[in-house]
């Protein structure tokens, strides 16, 4: 996920995780950062300028797709893939005859 | 459940070494093909 901002001074971006731990995720003069890999839960993002100017914090809710749906799809994929492999390998063994 | 450090170690070093080996293998195969005049 991309987080962007506009500022004419160096900024520090902090992320507060669902347990309330605060950690800095960015420190510098850029105008955006890419965040990924967070676990499920509610986060808060805070942006502070070098001069102490403070932007309104934004909250961020992370919810990953359902695991059971993902596993069903993976199962279907595995089945299709496996059958494809079987057709090719059986065909290769019985080459020349009807597979 | 997370991927362990050991797994990451094997994965990263394994694939880098694999890349090195395959580069060597390609070069060796070309030399072998060249010696028997079978490059193309």
């Amino acid at each position: 996920m991309h987080v962007g901002w506009t500022s004419d001074e160096p900024v520090t971006l902090t992320l507060t995780d669902p347990q309330g731990t605060v950690r800095p995720v960015y420190n510098g003069t850029g105008d955006g950062i890419f965040l990924s890999g967070l676990a499920d839960g509610d986060y808060a993002l805070g942006l502070v300028g070098e001069s102490g100017a403070r932007a309104d914090p934004i909250t961020l809710s992370v919810e990953h797709q359902s695991l059971s749906q993902a596993l069903w799809l993976a199962g279907l994929g595995a089945l299709v893939f496996l059958l494809t492999v079987i057709v090719i390998l059986r065909g290769t063994r019985g080459e020349g005859t009807d597979g | 459940m997370t991927f362990s450090e050991g797994f990451l170690d094997v994965l990263i070093y394994g694939s880098l070494i694999w890349c090195g080996v395959s580069a060597l293998a390609l070069a060796v195969m070309l030399i072998r093909d060249g010696k028997s005049g079978e490059i193309w």
Binding site: H64 | S15, W40
Partner: protein, 474 residues
Amino acid sequence: MAEDKVFLDPTVGWILLALFSALWIGLGVYWGRRNKSFEDHALAGRNVGLALGTATAAATWITSNTTMLAPQFALQLGIWGMLAYSTAAFGLILFAPMAKRIRHLMPHGYTSGDFFRLRYGRVAWAIFLVFTLFYSLTWLVSMAMAGGILLEALAGIDYVWGMSVILAVCVIYTMRGGLAAVIGTDFIQSLIIIVGICVTGFAVLQNVSVSEIHANLTATKPALLDVLFPAAIMAIFNNLLFGLGEVFHNNVWWSRAFAFRDGVASKAFLMGGLVWLPIPVAAGFIALASGALGVAVPSADMVGPLVIAEVLGGVGAVAIFIVVFCSLASSIDSLLAATSDLITEDIWRRLLHPKTSVEGLKRAAQWVTLALGVLTWLVCLPRIGTLATVLFFAGPLVGSMIWPIVTGLYWRSANTVGAVGAMVLGAGIGLYCYFAIGWYVATLIATAVSMVWTLGACAFAKGRFDWTRLKEAA
């Protein structure tokens, strides 16, 4: 703005570009002198050996996407993202036995279009041509655009100039040298890419250890290490089947099956797949190191160059520039050659001018290559960012062709109703799911639907195909 950050002095970029352009064109012209007929031009005389065969299979499959998108995948989907990307190697590995079968069934074949026409008739052939041309052209456009964008980001070379130079160089040496030039340059390019990735990978590990990377990920990006990361699990088989569909249908791979010497084809594809297998991990893991190295990543698609430039400075920037240029060229040239051969053989010769001489066909193929290059250039010129994403529509199209091709090669009972229905239904339902559910199911559902239809049609089939009908004389 960090996104405009240039890693390399433009002068150095231009010098590198000029050197490699001259090298590829020189080699293309040199190797092209051997080609007399269309068969020499399109299939390198059907006599390519094991070393070149293996290298060309691997190099063509290493696109700019492999070197640039693999880090992005790692950053978004974690360990599973890299592993899911690696599964694309199965496309090549499974094509190995098929390549042997193809050579055996069609000793005089030229293109995958020949197979569809002779095996399933004109309707299936027409659908195949629409699907494959859509896929090939969007792939070509997306790579030429990626070339322009990357050269601009890496060395500050203007988008239009970078894109034009890459495309022009590939068109010139493919036109002059045909498949021989493509395969010859692929060998050099594959070595440069693999060595480049290997060296930069070890260099990154000099600066940060795997345990530091792991500790940093555990603390800040735990989902990337999660064995049960839903988005990544869904991506695995969708990606795998996309790769299978791409390889099985496209003339890029069929023309190589025809071009490799007897007994070489299946070994070369198998080893090409094995050479390719570790590359997404080797190129992708550096993205996972970004946190531990303290590299801020403004946008996911530039994470690879950002980390390498941070760690290795100017040398790293040169290395990445060369690796990216090689991976672009090795795929653009193959796609240009294979698509122009497909158009020459399937449309020009089989539909329009059946009596063209072998020299005439070679000339036609050269002009088609040029025309394809110009068309691609015109489409890329306005730099419409959304165009590259069109490539993802191709997933359902190529997925729906997997079963008609596999059963058509091995089962006598595979038939036209099965093939046409599988392609139309599979692609239709797959595309619907793309918009209704998401990209991560489209290829999977398209393949599943076409599989069910094909199996049904084969079960009810009365006729049995006569394999000798595929041995059409040239």
